[in-house]
Amino acid sequence: MNCERAQRLISLWLDGMLGSEDERALLAHIENCPDCQRVRTEWEQVRSVLRSYPSVALSPEFDRKLLSRLKAHRAPAPPLASQWLSHPAFRLASSAMCGLFIMALTLLMLMLPTEKPTTQPEQFSRWQRHGLGRELVQWLEEIEGRERRWQGAPSSSSSQLPSRLYRC
């Protein structure tokens, strides 16, 4: 066993981390090695010196200060979801989203036609109200009347025309 290895083992031996076989080998080495004997003594002294470091007590105000700071914190950390929900960035983003949603909804409402969806007869009557329908109807009736006159066919009901035109 060389001294480097022996000194590594001394460190473990001091902490009670050495197996019995290694311990026997180490002690045999130390017995014949003044350098490793010195290292062992020095490290034992280091331990003794460090353990004699004076311990101190906390100041009497420690508890009071800690308690007031704890009261400010009060509850332990809430679950992650609620931490997120209470985060200022999340609040800002959610407000912005709500605003955008309201704006989009308003725009959509404005863009939609204000009139009720029309059924066929209503559309027809509206179409008629614009004048174009009447003219067109009158014109078509004229054409049909002429045709009938030429062909001698019986006259068709004018009520059928609007639906036929609507289909076109």
Binding site: L12, W43, V46, A57, F62
Partner: protein, 197 residues
């Protein structure tokens, strides 16, 4: 006799752990009184760790406060896999590292101190002199070496506990301790001569 003593100490440990888990459960509901009991149990060890690492009373108190505040705040994250003390040590060590990085050196020692236990007052001066020497040598060690040495020699933590506190493998703890002991002796010799006491 030895077996009996072990049985008694195991029973005491079990009792303490049972008491601790009950306290923890109460703390998790925001019970400050239960948390105060936990603080009382561990505050001196945490304070002395910070005191040994920082060498300054005010900073050590700050770190101790910070440690318990963080522990209270993050209690829901403590799953009980490690010991409560190991978990608190981890928080305290990180808080000390932050302080050390802010300062980058150990400040002059305070002149006043209050001993935690009854001591021989005639030896106070000698102990203060010794403390100064230890602080000086520790300050010259690198942070990783200083941490393992303090946790092992002054707090008597096992290799596994040190590994858990520092978040490093046990093999690294072993090699750092060897290196720390070697360096400590070397620095001591250079500064104060051969005799380590």
């Amino acid at each position: 006799m030895r077996t009996e003593a072990f049985a008694v100490s195991s029973a005491a440990t079990l009792l303490r752990e049972a008491g601790e888990s009950e306290l923890l459960a109460r703390c998790r509901t925001g019970d400050l009184e239960a948390f105060a009991q936990l603080v009382q149990r561990y505050r001196n060890r945490i304070f002395n760790l910070a005191w040994q690492l920082l060498g300054n009373r005010d900073d050590a108190e700050d770190v101790t406060q910070e440690t318990f505040l963080q522990a209270f705040e993050h209690l829901s994250e403590f799953r009980g896999e490690a010991q409560m003390l190991t978990w608190l040590y981890r928080i305290a060590v990180n808080a000390c590292k932050m302080k050390m990085r802010q300062r980058r050196f150990i400040e002059p020692l305070p002149e006043d101190f209050e001993p935690a236990e009854e001591i021989d007052w005639s030896a106070v001066e000698e102990r203060w002199l010794l403390k100064r020497k230890i602080d000086t040598v520790l300050a010259k060690l690198s942070e990783p070496l200083r941490l393992v040495l303090v946790l092992r020699e002054m707090h008597e933590l096992s290799y596994d506990e040190i590994a858990s506190v520092l978040g490093i493998p046990v093999g690294t703890v072993r090699s750092r301790l060897f290196e720390a002991r070697r360096k400590f002796v070397q620095i001591w010799r250079e500064m104060f001569g051969d005799e380590i006491r």
